[in-house]
């Protein structure tokens, strides 16, 4: 089956004014002063997939999304949608719709007219249009809001109108640019579940841009981690979390606990960069027994952060470097865990949980 989206060696460089506008800390500049926003992306997204593009700001994820939507034309490379080359096509000739970060609702139109806009400009008959607008608003649980103006809605409601306005056109691919970024945590978590449910209900391909690793891990079938205009790693959430390929991915997806140089040599027994997830490490007393398949490392608890269900300890190893350890507060109270600060401890983890990563 043909992929919903195929990107072939996509490159986007911004020169002059546009370059200055998009230039951020994370992006790379050429010798001619151009900003390289996207630096050779090859990617296939399957039909019906919930695909996330995860990365820090300036990593090229939003530019990649805008190249798929057609708001930017690539400097090099091609964009294919369902086997059709759309590289040079304007946005209005592409069968994709976008949910914008700032929602981009038309302030002079009612909610109904906003949602029906795509159908109006495509000259869908009025009766059909009204029915579909009603259905789309039902889907995002905003039935009866047709007559309101966007300014009369809350942030979460606007977000859902933006979603309905894109979905009502039944695009084959829906592009979402940090759609939950402006919502507060509680609403964001609700919308994550809702979005995933809607995606499963309508069965269309979602391409989701976010800098929130938790969001990407929760919702995606697969995700790509972007860094400096390139894809650092591509895989399922479990792949990326359990087998990060690089130090950057280990750090961006989850908390990085890197062992390198002499520390690695002392604890793992060989050169290279290694990572251990904080929840795989057990806190034990100094001198506690270590099994054959385990590694033990002595250190001192430098900082204790009480998080409610868990506690995070930052432990300074005697061998040098810090490790983060999280422990569930199963039988411990906040008093007890906070008192652990400054204590000498032994950290113990299984050898199988030590992962080798690239620089």
């Amino acid at each position: 089956m043909r992929p919903a989206v195929r990107l072939e060696h996509l490159v986007k460089r911004f020169g002059g004014e546009a370059g200055r506008r998009v230039a951020r800390s994370g992006s790379r500049q050429t010798t001619e002063g151009e900003v390289v926003a996207v630096d050779g992306i090859d990617l296939e997204i399957a039909d019906g997939e919930f695909f996330s593009m995860l990365g820090p700001s300036g990593s090229g994820k939003t530019t990649t999304l805008r190249l798929i939507a057609g708001f930017e034309l690539p400097t090099e490379g091609r964009v294919w949608l369902h086997g059709e080359d759309v590289t040079r096509k304007p946005p209005f000739e592409r069968d994709v719709n976008t949910v914008f970060q700032d929602y981009a609702l038309f302030p002079h139109m009612s909610v109904g007219d906003n949602v029906g806009y795509g159908l109006t400009v495509r000259k869908v008959p009025k009766a059909d249009r009204e029915r579909r607008v009603g259905e789309a608003l039902d889907m995002v649980r905003l039935s009866g809001y047709q007559g309101r103006k966007p300014s009369q809605l809350s942030g979460g409601q606007r977000q859902r109108v933006a979603l309905a306005r894109a979905l009502v056109n039944r695009p084959r691919v829906l592009l979402l640019d940090e759609p939950l970024g402006a919502l507060d945590l509680k609403l964001r978590e609700e919308m994550q579940i809702e979005l995933k449910a809607i995606q499963q209900e309508v069965g269309i391909t979602f391409v989701y841009v976010t800098h929130d690793q938790e969001e990407a891990l929760t919702m995606s079938d697969r995700l790509a981690v972007f860094s400096r205009g390139r894809i650092e790693q591509l895989g399922t959430p479990a792949d990326l979390y359990e087998r990060p390929a690089t130090a950057f991915v280990a750090g961006f997806v989850g908390t990085s606990n890197l062992l390198r140089g002499d520390v690695a040599k002392a604890l793992v027994g060989s050169e290279g960069i290694y990572t251990v997830r904080p929840e795989k490490i057990r806190l034990a007393d100094r001198g506690a027994a270590v099994a054959d398949d385990e590694v033990g490392a002595d250190g001192t608890i430098r900082t204790v952060v009480y998080l409610g269900p868990d506690t995070r300890y930052i432990v300074a190893l005697d061998a040098g470097s810090d490790l983060v350890v999280t422990q569930q507060n199963l039988n411990t109270s906040s008093m007890e865990v906070l008192a652990a600060q400054g204590q000498s401890v032994r950290l113990v983890w299984k050898r199988q949980h030590v992962l080798r990563v690239e620089e």
Binding site: G16, E17, A69, G70, F71, P90, P91, F92, V96, N97, T98, F100, Q101, D102, A104, F106, P107, H108, Y117, G118, V121, R122, R165, A166, N169
Partner: protein, 301 residues
């Protein structure tokens, strides 16, 4: 130690205490700041408008030419009478103002659009200065220079002569419209620019994303959102044209609203009639605003 006494004395200074006291009373600050402009607005603007209206109800004694301060509507009857030239002059002036406003809107829109949405900040600054430079130069100098350009055998005739054409001359409605269009153009460009600049790029992208071609996006998104700016600019061009008497004097033998008021005040000494006539542009602008509101000009504000 001396280091502790010094900050204490600063904290105790009368100015500091005053600003602390004002900080706790924001209404006093607001009142102090707003009183002069509000007084100015009420006394000078609204007061003089009320006086204008009041004096329009007076009339001139036909025999003594003295002002009779008994309220009556004779001036309005005269101004609106079909036998008198006033109504025809008003129609002519309004027609001219409409043409000038449309011409300015058509010229200003592409320029303002380019400045607000396409040009780099550098180009934008250059265009901004270019658009407003005429305002640095005296009105009279600019109007007279147009006389030189448009005069028979003047610059325009000479330039157009090269392709076998002739200019419109320096007398009549066409030169007046040209000069007004030129003079009021900055007053249309600036509010339109401000209106267009406020439209977020993402709205234009969203329209395109939802299937709107460029023209659809312009008609359904850009134009409605820029409409308040267009209305603001057209109020300037419209009312400035309605009130001006210098350009018509220099480019036409015909009478416009401004000339009639001027000659009634200065030559004929009929201030009450001039006052009544001066209310015509006020009424026209008021009607125009009601109409613009009906069209939804202010809904997107």
């Amino acid at each position: 130690m001396s280091t502790t006494s010094e900050p204490a004395s600063i904290l105790d200074s009368p100015l500091r205490r005053l600003s602390a006291a004002l900080y706790r009373r924001p209404r006093v600050v607001l009142g102090t700041l707003l009183t002069p402009p509000v007084l100015w607005l009420v006394v000078i603007y609204l007061g003089s408008l009320a006086l204008l209206f009041l004096s329009s109800l007076w009339h001139l004694d036909p025999t003594t030419s003295a002002i009779v301060r008994d309220p009556s509507l004779v001036n309005f009857q005269e101004v609106l009478s079909p036998d008198k030239p006033y109504l025809r002059v008003a129609q002519h002036t309004v027609g001219l103002a409409v043409i000038v406003t449309i011409a300015d809107a058509l010229l200003a829109f592409p320029l303002a659009y380019y400045m607000a949405r396409v040009a780099s900040p550098r180009t934008r600054n250059v265009l901004f200065i270019a658009a407003t430079i005429p305002l640095w130069i005296s009105y009279l100098v600019r109007v007279y220079s147009w006389r030189i350009i448009l005069a028979d055998g003047g610059f325009l005739d000479w330039a157009l002569g090269a392709v076998g054409l002739k200019g419109p001359g320096a007398l009549g409605d066409v030169p007046i419209a040209i000069v007004f269009t030129y003079i009021w153009l900055p007053y249309m460009v600036l509010p339109l620019y401000a209106g267009l600049e406020r439209i977020p790029r993402s709205l234009v992208e969203a329209s395109s994303d939802l299937g709107g071609r460029s023209w659809t996006t312009f008609r359904r998104i850009v134009l409605p959102l820029a409409f308040p700016g267009l209305v603001a600019g057209s109020i300037f061009t419209f009312s400035l044209t309605l009130g001006d008497y210098i350009t018509p004097t220099l480019f036409s033998g015909e009478q416009f609203i401004g000339n009639v008021i001027y000659s009634n005040v200065g030559v004929a000494g009929n201030v009450p009639l001039a006052a009544a006539y001066a209310l015509v542009p006020v009424a026209v602008i008021a009607l125009y605003l009601v109409f613009a509101r009906r069209l939804g000009a202010f809904e997107a504000l």
